[in-house]
């Protein structure tokens, strides 16, 4: 009984500690590709500490919603991160670790963020919230389509079951999985406000989405939101790693050494994903907001094609 509990606690601590490091790594890689030296990978931790010690500046017309939203957003994202088998499948909450539940948690966090963006009544908050909701309404159908095709392949939407299936030789080499992976990458980029959809490093009025919503936040509220954004990036990468690259995942009971190896492999996966993300972001330009529906429509089509092709490979 104590085993799963320890694994779960370890995972919750690990995701919380690794998330800022991942963000720092992506920023560092982007800086290096631009031939800048860039801030240290530990900079996000320092930012968080600085923000936590600063006082909060609140607008006069901020309601209770504006003050509570950051904590709720952070909590929802953290719970989502806790449900994903990152280095071991034997989590205490494994039975709730369902893909649809994770998407719902992230969707709830996004809903709160959009509400908080509109609460103050500035025009930037409104623009950011409306764009965010537009992107979400396009990204979520694509995500559900991907989940559908995965569920058809693995016979479950539960992450630990999917990971176990992918580890077995039964998974084989399927074109539907490749298409799902491609669609998942597009959706993950849109969900995390990364470059072809939104630029996380800019405050340009015409383009910002996520930054526009959180423009009025300061102090520990902003720290919570930044941490939640880092955690969300980690959630998406971990989900991808768990579904499509579940190597090194500890299944069932194992010794402490096996768990350490699992954690090492997981951190290695995060590092690879962060580096690839940084290089990818530097190699393409941001899209116009009105082209985003095309991109996400493409992801939806990929999901649909993956499901269609499944009828060939399973039906024969």
């Amino acid at each position: 009984m104590i085993g799963p509990f320890l694994v779960q606690a370890g995972q919750m601590a690990l995701v919380l500690l690794a998330a800022p490091l991942l963000t720092g790594l992506v920023r560092k890689v982007k800086a290096r590709v631009q031939r800048r030296r860039g801030a240290s990978v530990l900079q996000p931790y320092r930012d968080l500490r600085r923000l936590l010690s600063k006082e909060i500046v609140l607008a006069h017309n901020a309601s209770w919603l504006f003050r509570t939203a950051p904590y709720l957003i952070f909590a929802l994202t953290w719970v989502a991160a806790a449900l994903i088998p990152t280095f071991a499948t034997g989590l205490i909450f494994s039975w709730t670790g369902d893909l649809i539940a994770i998407i719902a948690l992230l969707g709830a966090a996004r809903f709160l963020l959009a509400l908080a963006g509109m609460d103050i009544g500035t025009s930037f908050g409104g623009i950011g919230a409306s764009r965010e909701v537009m992107i979400a309404s396009l990204a979520e159908p694509a995500m559900l389509m991907i989940i559908l095709s995965l569920a058809l392949i693995a016979g479950s939407t539960q992450l630990s079951t999917i990971a176990a299936f992918m580890l077995s030789p039964e998974a084989g080499l399927r074109v539907s999985l490749a298409l799902s992976l491609l669609a998942f990458v597009v959706v993950a980029l849109a969900e995390n406000a990364r470059i072809p959809v939104d630029n996380p490093a800019t405050h340009l009025e015409l383009t910002m989405v996520h930054e526009a919503m959180v423009l009025e936040y300061s102090g520990r509220h902003l720290a919570m939101i930044e941490l939640a954004a880092s955690l969300k990036l980690l959630v998406m990468i971990s989900t991808m790693a768990c579904i499509f690259f579940p190597f090194g995942l500890v299944t069932g009971d194992a010794g402490a050494g096996r768990y350490l190896i699992g954690i090492g492999v997981y951190l290695l996966k995060l590092a690879i994903a962060g580096t690839v993300l940084g290089c990818f972001e530097m190699s393409i330009a941001k899209m116009r907001v009105f082209r985003v529906p095309n991109l996400l429509g493409g992801a939806l089509m990929l999901g649909l094609l993956a499901t269609l092709l499944l009828f060939v490979s399973v039906g024969l």
Partner: protein, 219 residues
């Protein structure tokens, strides 16, 4: 089912994906790159079929596909686009989303039609034929929805890719037919190329709407 089926299915599925990418592309050079990619996947697919069927002459077909369709024709089209001076033009594509949706519908339709019809064939050629039909239909859709003559040529070549996939999936296709098909494509390509320049000389554009206006058709 095994790895043999999985690899054949993977390559054919990626060819369908390349067809859908063509529908999405609104610039000419990337469109040609996707065409080259599709032909490259075709060459791989044919080579895999050669390995599966133990038919050495299919390797020759694969080499023809690689040389002609994946390298020579895209390269020649690229030069042609450059000489026509339309290499920076963005083509007005009518409703990417709707076209893609229609493309998906065609894929579903061809699976629905082909899988019951070929019920007794072996799985590898069954899925090859079903997906080949969808590639052909997507090529037709590309020709119907585009107004630029070069894009229509690309659609025509995509249809040819689909037909080649179906032909190699069926066992016992003689080499003579393969070679003559390859050469007829080449001849058609040359004729189309000459026509493109003629259209360009006459109308100063390769937008086929100019032909409609020339015939006096009303829109």
């Amino acid at each position: 089912m095994g790895l043999a089926f999985d690899i054949a299915h993977m390559l054919a599925g990626l060819m369908v994906l390349a067809g859908l990418m063509m529908l999405y592309q609104d610039r000419l050079y990337p469109l040609l790159h996707v065409l080259a990619l599709q032909a490259f996947l075709l060459a791989l697919s044919v080579a895999w079929q050669a390995h599966l069927q133990d038919a050495p002459h299919l390797y020759i077909t694969a080499v023809i596909a690689l040389g002609f369709k994946a390298i020579f024709i895209p390269w020649a089209l690229r030069k042609m686009v450059f000489r026509l001076g339309i290499h920076r033009e963005i083509e007005p594509v009518v409703g990417t989303g709707l076209t893609m949706l229609a493309g998906m519908g065609l894929v579903a339709l061809s699976l629905e039609v082909m899988l019951p019809v070929t019920a007794h064939a072996d799985p590898v050629s069954r899925q090859d034929i079903a997906l080949a039909l969808s590639i052909v239909l997507i090529g037709l859709l590309l020709m119907v929805t585009r107004r630029n003559a070069v894009s229509q040529v690309v659609g025509f070549l995509a249809i040819d890719n689909g037909i080649s996939l179906a032909a190699t999936g069926a066992q016992g296709m003689p080499l003579v037919v393969e070679i003559s098909v390859a050469f007829s494509i080449l001849v058609a390509f040359i004729v189309i190329g000459i026509f493109l320049f003629r259209i360009r000389e006459r109308f100063d554009t390769v937008d086929v709407e100019a032909l409609d206006r020339f015939r006096g058709e009303r829109r």
